[in-house]
Subunit: 241 residues, 2 copies
Amino acid sequence: MFDLIAFDADDTLWHSESHYADAQAKFKQLLTQYHSPEQIEQRLHQTEMRNLQLYGYGIKGFALSLIETAIELTEGRIRGDEIQHLIDLAKDMLTAEVQLLDHAADSVARLAASYPLMLITKGDLFDQETKIARSGLRPYFQYIEVVSDKTDDSYSALLAKYQLDPARFLMVGNSLRSDILPVVALGGQAVYIPYQITWAHETVVLSEQDRSRFFELEHIGLLPALVERLSPGSDTLGTTD
Amino acid sequence: MFDLIAFDADDTLWHSESHYADAQAKFKQLLTQYHSPEQIEQRLHQTEMRNLQLYGYGIKGFALSLIETAIELTEGRIRGDEIQHLIDLAKDMLTAEVQLLDHAADSVARLAASYPLMLITKGDLFDQETKIARSGLRPYFQYIEVVSDKTDDSYSALLAKYQLDPARFLMVGNSLRSDILPVVALGGQAVYIPYQITWAHETVVLSEQDRSRFFELEHIGLLPALVERLSPGSDTLGTTD
């Protein structure tokens, strides 16, 4: 039924948003004498959204937005060593161990035995490449695509590049906005696996109709069985049990 | 003679290093009360080299290195508004008009009439994509590749991906380290067109033997004639004169 299965990476195969959340918690702690946690969070989100068109996604842009927000919220009174602390937070994120989600390695290995797999991730090219290399999952993926954003247009360009029939293309990811809705809009199939935290920017409100157009799973360990159920002619996935 | 001609982008097709040099001049001005221009330049270079393995190439990493260097060189005494000034320098660089080098548009248009062209550039994916879009040169390039670094391995992977014979691949660029030497090492052909400024990181010392393995031109306007001279069977390039 599928010619290729594509996976998002951050928060689909490995933890990412939790690192951002940890950094934000430390950021709020740093500014606790100046503002309430809610005000700090709101202002940081505003700064990030304003800078997204300049920086794109990724940790380096996040770090620059942390610094800018800290300067704004302290009216310039933030100290040099505190700014350095923010830079160090970003460096910690960039060098953090890649922690795979439960079941991710097993599910990817099982599906790779029967399907060509593609990784489609957005963000800093350099950071994403090093994470893929460190994840240990690189050998399972035939194709890697790092894109600057995940929109109808970017998926459309990928489908054309690899000459893929949307109806036989399956995308797996944790973001309705970036992984699921653009793919179903193109006639593709999608499996939504929510992560424990969703970045405010990635949240969307779904209609009942939207909801009927993709599959939803509780965790990635359930993916091979779903794919098998959708591909009745293929029993290869069962052989590793 | 060539199946494909590939171009570097920054400082080969459009000005880039001059923007970094302008930002560095303003950075030295900002810290002038603390240190000599030479000391500032040396420390910034050290910080950039130390951070390269974390940040990769590009303006956002450069901005973070400017901030870190400023904190170090002022022993934390740099003020919030001065740090914001450094962030604004980076934002100016990210939104600066793309200024094509003299003859770049003409030469690319002429060569595109006879050869498939590829753009191979390193740095921030998002920044490079927006610059390509703003340059007006996008229609002439059949393929665009943004890579995290330009090494023997990355060129080797590109040649394999596009099934290109190195002997029939021509790379054009301003960096001996990134555009020329890795390509000739793989048996490819290369045209070196120096830019008015070379980033210290990109400088190399050439042997006499190295020097004999690539072509060197004064400016990109001379490229179509060189390609024509190297492809005696093809006279298509002359027809637009």
